[in-house]
């Protein structure tokens, strides 16, 4: 009885579904027709609008939109670039900071090393100082004890007694202000002229120049007729010496004009110049190269000794030693006086004769009476 009921209801359901299916198909067809009509109507309207727009030109609103879109795109790109740049900058800053940190660390390490070395040196110095103080204290106490007859324990200092220089510097003390640098030695004034503070110094290597108007060089000769002198002031020369230490590299040269020698008799002068061949050997020179002092008195500014050098007469040069006395006069001029015996034959000079009877001795006395004044401090190469 149940089975026929189930079959009946199933048949009814099948029919119902068939009806629903037909209705659905009909609905779809009707909807499609309606949609087609609507779309057709809209397409017509749209084509008309586009033609008008084409006739009116570009729509400013659309252009604005397009521009806004472009701007928005650019801004977006800019944002991306900015973000990328910021990221790169951040990275670079981090790298630089890292390098700086590394360098600072290296410097700090180096400073720490130096500090350690200084501490070590200070400790060593302190220890040495303490040791020295202890030694002196011990010696002092021993001496005191021996004097007093009683023993005493020497005071002992340890490194701990002395604050390390680095770790515990002494409290700051008030330092007296540094005195201003001393002004340069004031120059002397004479009639408003500013003079060097020490122009003439006996104990100083200085350069001197001869004063011809106050100087003379000559000779004293003996002959069978009578004795005579030849003299001239035609002298030139300079010398460099420390008068207090004249043995230390004296240097100088004196030049005498041979034709300027005068004996007081014109005929004799002619004969003398002929004998000395002054046309050929125009000068006589003395090159000063050494000095052997026998007496030096800096307080009186005098000295004596033997000046050695090369004497050139008549074109012949020989080593000679000239005893001299040196002094300084009131005008601060150096006076040099000396004499020397020479043989004319040593210089290939034939002693002049007259009629075979009047004959000049082969040996004569050369003398100098020179005055020189300070020219300046010795140069480096003098």
């Amino acid at each position: 009885m149940v089975a026929p009921a189930v079959a009946e209801s199933a048949a009814m359901g099948s029919k119902f579904l068939q009806v629903v299916g037909v209705l659905a198909i009909l609905g779809l067809v009707g909807g499609s027709i309606a949609a087609l009509g609507i779309v057709k109507q809209r397409l017509h309207v749209t084509f008309a609008a586009e033609d008008e727009a084409a006739q009116r030109g570009p729509d400013p609103v659309e252009l604005l939109r397009a521009d806004l879109g472009t701007v928005a795109t650019d801004v977006a790109a800019l944002n991306r670039n900015l973000e990328s740049g910021l990221q790169e900058l951040h990275g670079a800053l981090e790298t630089s900071a890292g390098e700086r940190e590394q360098r600072l660390a290296v410097r700090v390490a180096a400073l720490e090393g130096k500090l350690a070395a200084l501490e070590s040196a200070a400790a060593t110095s302190n220890a040495a100082l303490i040791q020295a103080i202890n030694a002196q204290a011990t010696a002092l106490l021993e001496r005191t004890a021996s004097d007093a007859g009683a023993a005493a324990k020497p005071m002992e200092l340890t490194v701990a007694d002395v604050a390390p220089v680095i770790e515990a510097p002494p409290p700051p003390v008030e330092v007296a202000p540094t005195p201003p640098a001393l002004p340069p030695a004031p120059k002397k004034s004479f009639l408003s002229f500013q003079l060097p503070s020490a122009a003439f110094t006996f104990d100083r290597r200085q350069r001197f120049v001869l004063v011809p108007s106050l100087s003379r060089v000559g000779f004293d000769a003996k002959s069978t007729l009578h004795d005579f002198s030849g003299v001239t002031s035609k002298i030139d020369g300079t010398f460099t010496v420390n008068l207090a230490k004249a043995a230390e590299k004296p240097l100088g040269k004196i030049t005498v004009e041979a034709a300027a020698l005068e004996t007081g008799l014109a005929d004799r002068d002619v004969s003398m110049r002929k004998t000395l061949a002054v046309e050929q050997f125009k000068t006589m020179t003395f090159e000063w190269t050494g000095f052997a002092p026998s007496a030096v008195d800096p307080s009186e500014m005098t000295l004596a000794g033997e000046a050695s050098g090369k004497l050139t007469l008549h074109g012949v040069t020989r080593e000679v030693t000239l005893p001299v006395k040196v002094s300084v006069d009131a005008s601060k001029r150096v006076a040099i006086d000396g004499e020397l015996m020479v043989k004319l034959s040593d210089y290939k000079v034939e002693p002049p004769t007259q009629v075979g009877v009047i004959k000049v001795d082969d040996e004569l006395k050369l003398w100098i009476a020179l005055r020189a004044r300070l020219e300046g401090a010795a140069l480096d190469d003098e």
Partner: protein, 140 residues
């Protein structure tokens, strides 16, 4: 005996005794400039006018002063030059300023009068550093 020959021999042997030796005395070898004996009087204003050059400088200043010149003008101004030695090279130094002479001496603008004496166109300055004697070489 041949008289001319005897006369000649006599002359030869007698002549040395007649000719005075001309050997220069050792003390006269050096050339000394004798100080002039002048009657120095305090210089007056009119004594200073003109150009003066040094003829003698003595004392400490002499070591450094080779030569000095002063020109004193009537309007009370002066100009001067000196050759200074003692340094690496000699150098000229020049001065100019005003001068005034009074009982205290010659004031060259320093406020420290210098003792100034005058005699026969010679001007003598006396200072602690030395003595300088100048002679007048031009009156204007």
């Amino acid at each position: 005996m041949n008289s001319p020959r005897a006369l000649a021999l006599a002359l030869i042997f007698a002549l040395p005794a007649c000719i005075v030796p001309s050997v220069l005395d050792e003390k006269q070898r050096s050339i000394e400039v004798a100080a002039e004996e002048l009657a120095w009087l305090p210089a007056r204003s009119e004594d200073l006018r003109g150009l003066f050059e040094s003829v003698s400088i003595e004392g400490e200043a002499a070591a450094a002063l080779w030569k000095i010149y002063y020109h004193f003008a009537p309007d009370g101004t002066f100009t001067a030059a000196a050759l200074i030695v003692g340094g690496a090279q000699p150098q000229f130094q020049t001065l100019s300023g005003t001068w005034n002479i009074s009982e205290q001496g010659l004031d060259l603008g320093t406020g420290e009068p210098v003792r100034a004496l005058f005699a026969a166109d010679r001007l003598r300055f006396e200072l602690a550093g030395g003595v300088a004697i100048l002679r007048r070489v031009a009156a204007h």
